[in-house]
């Protein structure tokens, strides 16, 4: 029961990371909107999660939150600072990334930690 819930939360966290990553690529490649430097730094904390949370979802590894949560905490801090910088809201993917990091944090915070062995 609670395992089903954790599996769902982890899958949602991964999908949010993936969609926010794809959206940032859409703004960049299709709309040609250049992000500011801080926005680029913020994405450092987002892009890897599209891979890491995908592997964890596939393995059913809820222990990934020990690794993924620090990414989100740092990412949210960078994201909030980014919002205060001039020219950093031109690309909406910067704000979307911040929202995504918050959603991922909430999902992972509700995942019951159970580390896989082997």
């Amino acid at each position: 029961m609670s395992n089903d819930r954790s599996a769902l939360l982890l899958a949602v966290a991964w999908l949010v990371a993936l969609l926010a990553t794809l959206y940032s690529q859409y703004t960049l490649q299709i709309q040609s909107l250049l992000p500011c430097t801080w926005c680029w730094y913020q994405w450092v904390l987002l892009y890897p999660q599209a891979i890491i949370l995908g592997v964890a979802t596939w393995r059913g590894d809820y222990g990934i939150r020990h690794y993924a949560l620090p990414f989100n905490f740092i990412g949210i801090a960078v994201g909030l600072y980014t919002l205060s910088q001039p020219g950093c809201t031109t690309n909406p993917a910067c704000v979307v990334a911040l929202v995504a990091l918050v959603v991922i944090t909430l999902c992972l915070a509700m995942v019951k930690p159970k580390t896989l062995t082997g």
Partner: protein, 139 residues
């Protein structure tokens, strides 16, 4: 904590090596952009995206003696190798991918021609990849 086995100790060395390489590459890249003011191109940023997380992942794994980390860090370093190779090809054969670089500077720019930065990144990614491949997960 229970005593470390011989395999654990071997894994520790390998993960510590990968962590140090990732740390040097991360600090070096921040030095290049924030101290030397080398503006990163789009492909440079993507290489950072697969390098910086190694420091967090491998650093935490070292603290926790968690060797399953290779399942997470290896995909990142493999994508990193692909990105560095792509960047080096773009630099040496401009336009072969017929793709404009979406950043303030072109991806063909090179600040250190004697040892191109994507080549530095490639060396780091390869060392991390080999070290992680040698890590033995618990059976």
């Amino acid at each position: 904590m229970s005593a470390l086995t011989a395999v654990d100790r071997r894994n520790r060395w390998l993960v510590a090596l990968a962590f140090l390489v990732g740390l040097v590459a991360t600090v070096g890249s921040i030095y290049y952009s924030e101290v030397r003011y080398f503006v990163p191109c789009e492909l440079c940023w993507y290489q950072r995206y697969w390098m910086y997380p190694q420091v967090i992942l491998l650093g935490l794994a070292l603290l926790r003696n968690d060797w399953n980390i290779k399942l997470y860090a290896l995909p990142l370093s493999l994508v990193g190798i692909a990105t560095s190779v792509y960047h080096l090809l773009e630099q040496n054969f401009p336009g072969i991918f017929a793709r404009a670089c979406k950043s303030a500077v072109p991806c063909s720019i090179e600040y250190i021609p004697s040892f191109p930065i994507p080549a530095q990144a490639l060396v780091a990614f390869v060392i991390i990849t080999v070290a992680l491949l040698l890590v033995r997960r618990k059976s």
